[in-house]
């Protein structure tokens, strides 16, 4: 004789608990989509920030090596301290005539080379750091023939995106 089999199945409470657990699992997937959208937004900010940094680097690249360099010349075999010189205003890059004048420069909102604001990029800020580096690209206290320029662009509460480049007095 076969024994009596248990054919009771699920009761409503058991099924309900299973459904609730399943629902919670599905709802927990929602943040993934939000994360995906945020990641894409970040991609946009990176692209815009990169272009803004490149533009400022190009502005800096136009300048001569330092204030001792003759006008319309790129470099001479000497050097000077990093920073602003006479008749240069720290809040007006139009007055900058050499690379290291940009050290400490910052734009709370992006402005073009002649200081006109660009409203579309009001949420972005840019800053510049210029330093002498040695032949091993390490920060140098003394004057060398290498300047490292770092342009950082910060967009919408994100960490700044920085681009470094090297200028040589050669």
């Amino acid at each position: 004789m076969m024994g009596k089999t248990n054919q009771r199945g699920f009761v409503l409470v058991e099924a309900s608990v299973a459904y609730i657990v399943l629902s919670l699992a599905l709802v927990s997937l929602l943040p993934l989509f939000i994360l995906s959208i945020r990641a894409n937004k970040y991609t946009e900010i990176v692209k815009v920030s990169t272009q803004l940094s490149v533009e400022l680097l190009e502005e800096i690249r136009l300048r001569r090596w330092d204030e001792s360099t003759p006008l319309r010349a790129k470099a001479i075999p000497s050097g000077a301290a990093i920073g602003l010189d006479a008749d240069e205003a720290s809040n007006d890059k139009r007055t900058f005539d050499d690379i290291d004048d940009f050290n400490g420069w910052s734009e709370g909102a992006v402005v073009d080379p002649v200081m006109r604001p660009i409203p579309e990029f009001a949420a972005y800020s840019r800053s510049v750091e210029v330093m002498y580096v040695d032949a091993n690209m390490k920060s140098a206290q003394e004057i060398t023939d290498f300047k490292q320029v770092r342009v950082c662009t910060k967009g919408r509460e994100r960490d700044p995106l920085c681009i470094d480049t090297l200028f040589t007095n050669r």
Partner: protein, 164 residues
């Protein structure tokens, strides 16, 4: 199964169906957003840098020996080989015109604004009023993605005609 159990079961299934629908909606929204972003960023790259075969605005500016004409919504430069290269905007398409050929550079570009600068004799940057002295260009591009969301980009490039 009683009627109460049946109704309860249906309610639970309805709630779960609602949650799954919401998930699908979020997934579709995320997909469209990603697609929009990808299209716009790819077009921005094509416009500024090019795509390998067609050189973009900045690439061409850096390569150029001089600015041919100061245009506020075009870029017209002279290549080192001597022929002019022009970028113009028409019906949302950025066109590259050179040596009699007109090729599509990038799509979905709704506005382009170019500005030109040069260095004065005192080493100070100034906006150019004549093409021969211009040595830096900046380009502002506005691009439109499907669903009419617009994206703005700003960059610049230095010509080869300075410090030479």
């Amino acid at each position: 199964m009683t009627l109460v159990e049946l109704v309860m079961g249906l309610v639970i299934i309805a709630v779960i169906a609602g949650i799954i629908t919401g998930l699908f909606k979020a997934g579709i929204k995320s997909f469209h957003y990603t697609l929009r972003q990808t299209l716009v960023l790819a077009n921005a790259r094509k416009a500024f840098d090019g795509d390998g075969s067609a050189h973009g605005l900045l690439w061409q500016a850096r390569e150029a020996g001089s600015v041919n004409t100061l245009g506020a919504s075009t870029l017209h430069v002279d290549s080192p080989q001597g022929f002019p290269v022009q970028y113009t905007l028409s019906d949302g398409v950025l066109w590259n015109i050179q040596r009699g050929d007109q090729t599509e550079q990038a799509k979905a570009v709704t506005a382009m604004q170019t500005k030109y600068y040069h260095m004065s004799d005192q080493g100070i940057i100034t906006e150019s009023v004549d093409a021969s002295s211009a040595t830096l260009i900046t380009v502002f591009l506005q691009m439109e993605a499907p669903r009419k969301k617009s994206y703005s980009f700003f960059s610049g490039g230095q010509l080869r005609n300075y410090f030479q």
